[in-house]
């Protein structure tokens, strides 16, 4: 069974969002999503200063087999993008919740958590799929 850390929130399309002490939100994809994708070969992420929107595509990730959209669990502005992933996507596979983070976002509003699933709900989604 895939790990679902309790310290963050989830989108049904398998992205996570974690709030830092400074109010900045880090986003990435879940272990379940990473294992579904298999071997990764390419990722495209937005740069600093670009806007992302809730449930809208913010980038693309490509496995040996197919291209998949990355959907944002939050609306806001990119303040940092994990540039090391452009060279090697292994951290996404090996450590999707830590080293495999993708973007740091300054949220557009404070209510962003209301639209997301809590860990228990996301876990039951995984169990029922």
């Amino acid at each position: 069974m895939s790990e679902v850390p309790a310290d963050r929130f989830y989108l049904s399309s398998h992205e996570w969002a974690q709030e830092g002490d400074d109010g900045v939100v880090t986003i990435g994809i879940t272990e379940f999503a990473a294992s579904e994708l298999g071997e990764l070969v390419y990722i495209e992420l937005p740069g600093e200063g670009e806007d992302v929107h809730f449930e809208q595509q913010f980038g693309e990730i490509e496995s040996v087999k197919a291209v998949s959209a990355l959907n944002s669990p939050i609306s806001g502005q990119v303040i940092e993008s994990n540039a090391s992933l452009l060279d090697s996507q292994e951290p996404i596979t090996d450590s999707p919740f830590e080293e495999g983070w993708m973007l740091k976002i300054k949220p557009a509003d404070d209510s962003w958590k209301d639209q997301l699933m809590n860990p228990a709900d996301y876990e039951s989604q995984l169990n029922n799929s």
């Binding site: 298999g38 071997e39 070969v41 390419y42 495209e44 087999k65």
Partner: protein, 368 residues
């Protein structure tokens, strides 16, 4: 979604299952790249039960087939296997198939996704013959890779004491399969869709799972392999895939499959005059192979550009595990020279396409 008789075997072997051609099939068991290398260097086992296995029954199956297939069926010898296209009147491809001339009967193996389309089509077009669909009752599994012949030979008995080694490339014969503790009567052909030496084995479906497991257990060097690596293996080997390189909108001449068309065979076949015309005026587009600059593979549907204008379209693309670069093939307008500067439209990027001869990969001994 339909399942093959090997579905529970796939689950036991830890497969990730996806839809392909209407069937739930393994895309990989461990990892695509690893399975790809297994087939290139060792041997891999594939479930091919999703493909259609049709027997052609009638008073004169040869003439009936000759009228609907592009290949000159009448010249096939007993024990021979031939690649052929099934075309429409306008030359568009309905399917690409293998034709098996067994000592006393004729078989066709067709693509999974085209089974339901072809059955009524053959019923209508075959004159004096009809199809008996054995797809459910007869299983088909493959062992592909350089170790296949050596590992399999001790377990296969052929008529008149012939060894498996003497079964030639694209040949088929009766076989007693001694893999499961009980001798099984079936067929074996030296065919495949990987670019490696290998075999396809046909036994009654009730024994499919035992045969599949026994093949996997032949050696530590053998692993079950999914459709993911079957796709990268066939792409490297320059073999077309229906729904990618081939469709009802594409003819075999444009696809570079002239070898599979008896353009001037004496029995007229469906699509013959259209194909003769395409051949004489030259196709408007042609299949070409490329390596893609940079890390990102080009996928089916990506536009091929020359001086900013669309001059073609990618039909298949993937990282090539053997070559270590991204490879692609696609159709390009015939007027564009081989050495023209081409790019591929991947959204934010338009990396260069470098021409690469097809196939991308050829094993050292092509003919046995």
């Amino acid at each position: 979604m339909k399942k093959t008789v090997l579905n529970s075997a796939h689950q036991r072997h830890g497969a990730r299952l996806v839809e392909f051609g209407g069937f739930e099939m393994p895309v990989w068991y461990s990892a695509l790249t690893e399975e790809h290398h297994t087939v290139r260097k060792q041997a891999g086992v594939f479930d091919l039960c999703h493909m259609g296995r049709f027997e052609v029954v009638g008073d004169d199956p040869v003439t009936a087939l000759d009228k609907v297939l592009t290949r000159d069926v009448s010249s096939m010898k007993k024990g021979q296997v031939c690649y052929s296209l099934v075309c429409q009147e306008d030359g568009g491809i309905l399917d690409d198939i293998l034709v098996y001339r067994l000592p006393d009967r004729w078989w066709l193996v067709v693509n999974a996704g085209n089974r339901d389309k072809l059955l009524p089509w053959f019923e209508e077009k075959l004159e004096g013959a009809h199809i008996v669909d054995h797809s459910e009752s007869l299983a088909m599994v493959a062992l592909q890779g350089p170790l296949a012949v050596g590992l399999l030979a001790p377990h296969i008995e052929r008529p008149k004491g012939r060894s498996l080694e003497t079964l030639g490339y694209y040949r088929v014969g009766a076989a007693t399969v001694n893999l499961t503790g009980t001798p099984l009567q079936g067929w074996i052909s030296r065919t495949g869709y990987t670019g490696e030496d290998g075999f396809e084995i046909y036994v009654d479906s009730e024994h499919a799972e035992a045969v599949f497991d026994a093949l996997v257990d032949l050696s530590e060097d053998v692993h079950p392999c999914g459709l993911g690596c079957r796709d990268t293996l066939r792409l490297e080997a320059g073999m077309p895939l229906y729904g990618h390189e081939l469709s009802e909108q594409i003819d075999p001449i444009s696809a570079g499959l002239e070898f599979g068309v008896g353009l001037h065979k004496t029995t007229p076949f469906i699509g013959q005059s259209a194909l003769q015309e395409i051949e004489s005026r030259g196709p408007q587009r042609r299949m070409r192979g490329f390596t893609v600059d940079g890390r990102r593979p080009a996928r089916q549907g990506a536009a091929i550009l020359h001086e900013g204008k669309v001059v073609g379209e990618v039909t298949s693309g993937s990282p090539s595990p053997t070559l270590g670069v991204a490879i692609a093939c696609g159709y390009v307008d015939s007027g564009i020279p081989e050495d023209a500067s081409l790019q591929v439209d991947l959204g934010r990027q338009t990396p260069d396409l470098k021409p690469h001869p097809l196939p991308f990969y050829r094993r050292e001994t092509e003919k046995v």
